[in-house]
């Protein structure tokens, strides 16, 4: 029950919408998000969209990781992630 899936928003009707992943469509609760648009990706957990997925961030993390593994002198805690301290 704890499994969450990324879905593409393909329909919006007020606070409800339709999400799609791999050809499977499901009604989703959009009440937890503001300004959601058709075509955007959201993480759906137990029928509720809990957040938008940030495509730019997804690519950034990957390219930082790729860069890091190619380096010999690496500092993952600086390169890898946003550090809050």
């Amino acid at each position: 029950m704890c499994l969450a899936v990324p879905m593409k928003v393909i329909e919006i009707n007020g606070s409800l919408g339709m999400g799609e992943v791999g050809g499977v469509k499901r009604e989703i609760n959009l009440m937890l998000l503001s300004d959601i648009k058709i075509g955007e990706y959201v993480i759906v957990h137990a029928g509720s969209a809990i957040q938008k997925l940030d495509e730019a961030e997804a690519e950034k993390t990957l390219s930082l990781l790729r860069e890091m593994v190619e380096k010999t002198n690496y500092f993952p805690s600086e390169l890898l992630c946003m550090n809050y301290q």
């Binding site: 704890c2 503001s34 961030e57 809050y84």
Partner: protein, 372 residues
């Protein structure tokens, strides 16, 4: 969205190499607290590719497993009443209520209540329960709601939007940071780093986890669920340990914002208040459960059905022969339990809660045996 890169075999292999090269002062143990993480770890065989000196252990990340037997007893009592439809997630149906060791008295569950005439419906989303209430105005529809912050947020949004009067919630919601803190206070569990559950963190953000690096000097990294997510979180934790640092790091930036989902947090705070709550196999933990606030009490099944006196049935939470309590504390692994995957305990015939739920560590290990 192109997430394939997060499963890229070459990248995965390179990160594993970097992990092996980190010069660690001792063997380390990283704990995660999420059934979805355990599923990914099993599915992708993550443990088998890690160097021997890095251990990855599951903590109390299964909301169905930690739901106390007394709450299931209450759900059964409500479900057996007239004109009631009790809706809940599939996993909840087979979890045993209070366990008695007397062989002549079979243990009850919502499934056995169903055979006694209770109208119990399995649903996928709290929205389905809401629809049941709308379609059956002459019935009282109770949603027996378990889950961590991720599920609680969706449930809160339904209550916030004025559901019909025949709808109510039996809340067995639990919060993730309190048991993590509790485990750090137990002397015989050595934990060297935390991998934070990506979707709980998506909802509540990074701030509630600051205490772990700050007060407990624990490297703490929020991670997604693909192999590259999990391995890069492990690499980061290992690096921090090597450098004797303890930082809060967000590896899952495509979903987790530092402040989390502010709208979800404010709806949850409007609907729920934190209360002391009991965890099956763990015990009572302060401020670790969610109860409906007074202004939402007309949708609180505990109020509608006056359950206050009903939580004291006799019996065990965990059968004396079952080791779920040790597994949920990260003290042992499922194969350490002598009943694991035997005739007496398997997914078709679960003996303890950890073998029932798809988030349960025993059930996941049974599924991926040999790989984990």
């Amino acid at each position: 969205m192109g997430l394939e890169g997060y499963r890229d075999a070459e990248l995965t292999e390179k990160i594993v190499k970097l992990i092996s090269k980190v010069d660690l002062p001792h063997k380390i143990k990283i704990m995660h607290v999420c059934g979805t993480h355990e599923n990914s770890i099993g599915r992708f065989g993550i443990r088998s590719i890690l160097p021997e000196h890095i251990e990855l252990v599951a903590g109390p990340g299964c909301p169905v497993c930690v739901c106390p037997a007394s709450d299931i007893d209450i759900a059964i009592e409500i479900a057996l009443q007239e004109e009631v439809i009790l809706a809940t997630f599939g996993d909840m149906i087979r979890v045993p209520a209070k366990i008695n060791t007397d062989k002549d008295k079979p243990n009850s569950s919502l499934q056995t209540a169903k055979s006694r005439g209770a109208d119990v419906k399995i649903i996928y989303s709290p929205l389905d329960a809401l629809k049941l209430a709308e379609k059956n105005p002459d019935k009282r529809v109770v949603f027996f709601s378990v889950g961590f912050e991720t599920t609680a947020a969706g449930v809160a949004s339904i209550l916030y939007n004025n559901p019909p009067p025949n709808f109510s919630i039996l809340s067995s919601h639990r919060l993730i940071p309190p048991p993590m803190e509790l485990l750090l206070g137990i002397g015989d569990i050595q934990i060297d780093g935390f991998m934070l559950p990506g979707h709980v963190t998506t909802v509540i953000g990074m701030n509630p986890f600051k205490i772990f690096p700050e007060a407990y000097l624990m490297p703490t990294v929020a991670a997604g669920f693909e192999p590259v997510d999990i391995l890069s979180a492990i690499l980061n934790i290992a690096e921090q340990i090597k450098e004797e640092k303890a930082s809060l790091v967000n590896q899952y930036t495509r979903a987790v914002k530092e402040d989390g989902n502010q709208k979800a947090i404010s709806i949850m705070n409007d609907v729920f208040e934190e209360v002391s709550a009991y965890w099956r196999g763990i015990g009572r933990i302060p401020r670790s459960g969610l109860k409906l606030k007074e202004k939402y009490s007309k949708w609180d099944a505990n109020r509608v059905f006056d359950t206050a006196h009903k939580s004291l049935c006799a019996g065990f939470d965990i059968h004396p022969s079952c080791s779920c309590h040790l597994i949920m504390a990260g003290k042992i692994y499922p194969p350490d339990c002598t009943l694991f995957s035997k005739k007496i305990c398997n997914p078709d015939n679960p003996f303890g809660p950890c073998m029932v739920s798809i988030d349960g560590t025993c059930r996941i290990w049974h599924r991926y045996e040999g790989k984990t």
